[in-house]
Amino acid sequence: MSIARVQQTGAVGNNATSVTRAFLSNVTAGAMLVILVSRWSSSSDPFQAADCTMSAGTATIGAISMDVQYNSGSGSSWVALAIYSCIVTGSGSCTMRVANGPAGSYWLVGIAERSGSWDASRVEDTATNEGDAPTAPTTGDMTSAGAGLFVGIAEMYANDSLTVTEDGAFALIYENESIASLIAASIDRIVSSGTTDAASWSAPTSDPDYFWFGAVGVVYKEAAGNIVVTPSPVTGKAASTAPTVVRGSISVAPTARSAAASSVAPTVVRGPITVAPSAAAAKGAVAQPAVIHGSLSLAPAAGEARAATGAPTVILGSVIVAAPAAIAAGSSVAPTVVRGSIEFAPDPAAAAASGVDPAVEAGGDVQVSPAAAQAALSATPPTVIHGSLSLAPSAAAAAGTVVAPTVIRGSLSFAPAAAIARALGIDPSVEAGGNVSVQPAAASATAAVAAPTVVRGSVSMTPAAAAAIALSVMPDVVLGSLAVLPVAAGARSTGTDPGIVLGAIAMIPTPASVLASSTDPTVVIGAAPGEITGTLELTLDGLVLRARGTGEIAAIPENRTIKIAAELRTLRIPFEDRTIKIPAEDRTLRIS
């Protein structure tokens, strides 16, 4: 709803402690009332919020707020200015009263009704100012981000009547130019887009009788509005919503039996977006604005939902894609930036090619959990995830599941529980804040790999399947601990080969048959470079363990222990002034 002038009037009041003024006609529910007040008094008395009330009338109004006030003067000459506003909640007649002035006060009151969509957060900017002649009266610049209402009032102190001329972009609410009363003027300007301007007056700068001004101003913005598109015929096609800017929410909810090509593609949406076709066949539902300041919910509930896409450039809220239809295909969420969470949970019988692919996911979590019988090609390769990432396909066959973001600042959980989990990969470049957990529990887990470049938390890899093959953890750097604990009956080729581990490493294969388990870090470092604070341990608990411990240790402080319970092939200690003792009973290397 756009802003519009409805009515305005005003009054001057001489030698009065209060002034009342009625609107010329009934005010309408939803409109905003603006009360602009200027007062001269012989003593300092700044305006207070309670000074302005509705004194009579059949209308009802919401809380009156004092949006700006200014008080200036000295001796026995003081000027007070204020702008109040309220929202009409019930239509009717309305008389406003401004009171509590000192005896002998002189007033100018302007009152205005402005239609629009207003709420309690309507004040966007304020300004106060004063100056001496010949400076032109002005509030100073105020700014609106979009459409808005600029209002201002100025009092001009003078020895005689003045001609007061407002800025051409503004319109008069009420003024008095006569020396018989207070010389002051109230004005406003409606703007349809982002604007910076001052409520100002071009005269009376050259009038010799003018010698001082005080001014205050407020910018009001409208409340968020909403767009609802709900085609409900049997066949609803090509329902589209594509405004440039939406300050409120957007809801697109075709409920027809066949809803196709429903799209929401404004440039900017300041509220949430919901796209929820519930028809039996929902196809091509698209939410693709450039920027969403709220959340995005894409939830086709149809029996057959295809190609549901949420691909805005920036989402400042959360993203939910939840297609529970029998067949959900090609559902993708690929915004450039998501500052909230992403939830992606198609749980139909067949969820294929489910993709979450934002460039940056900056504030919340990413959850991809297709629970269908067949979840294939589930991919989560965002560039950056600031929250956690959980990927948990539980279908009978989970294949080709890949998590490969560049950076994850939270934790990463990867837990396919399907009977057959293959080619499970976690390959972020940096996982910076939490932990990495890889826990395939399927009967057959093959080629499960966790190979991030840097892990700042811990790495836990515990395949429990009957046959776990070729499990490897090979980050370049692990700043926390690293644990590889295969407990399956047959775990082979289990490798831990990070470049650097700053914490502890534990590798404890316990099944009946564990082959070729290795831990071969290049450097193990403690809290400070060159120290060991954790424990490097290889424990033989099965029938066969061919382990090699090759510790390239830069410096080992005293009273530290490296415990190697397996066969020691190579250990290079570059510090010749250390004494190395290897007790035979436990093959413990002690540095003293």
Binding site: V12, N14, S178, I179
Partner: protein, 116 residues
């Protein structure tokens, strides 16, 4: 337009209603409806006043503006010291207006209308 005395100055207390002012249809400028208080009473801090401007909207008189006044205040240099309310006279052009006074303490007061 010259002053029109709507209520003669006299000792008054309680409620006083002025005579009606029939505003011409072509009225322009600012209308001021004011009390007409004797100088001694203007300076007396014990005095107070509630002044209302009423316009006749058939069948009732409705208050469209008003003020409250307390005596003894330091008034603004160069301005009319009489308590009055002024507004755009076009709002009442062609209508009947009057002044309603509520006077808690006896003082010499009348009521005047002025258009300029």
């Amino acid at each position: 337009m010259p002053l029109q005395q709507l209520l003669n100055r006299a000792n008054r207390q309680g409620t006083a209603i002025s005579a009606e002012y029939n505003a011409p249809a072509n009225l322009t400028g600012t209308i001021r409806l004011r009390g007409d208080i004797a100088a001694a009473d203007l300076a007396d801090v014990r005095n107070s006043l509630s002044l209302s401007i009423e316009v006749f909207r058939d069948p009732v008189w409705e208050v469209i503006a008003g003020l409250t006044w307390v005596g003894g205040g330091v008034t603004m240099p160069g301005r009319d010291p009489q308590p009055f309310v002024g507004f755009d006279s076009a709002e009442i052009a062609g209508k009947r207006v009057r002044i309603s006074l509520s006077i808690p303490r006896t003082m010499r007061i009348g009521a005047v209308v002025e258009v300029s």
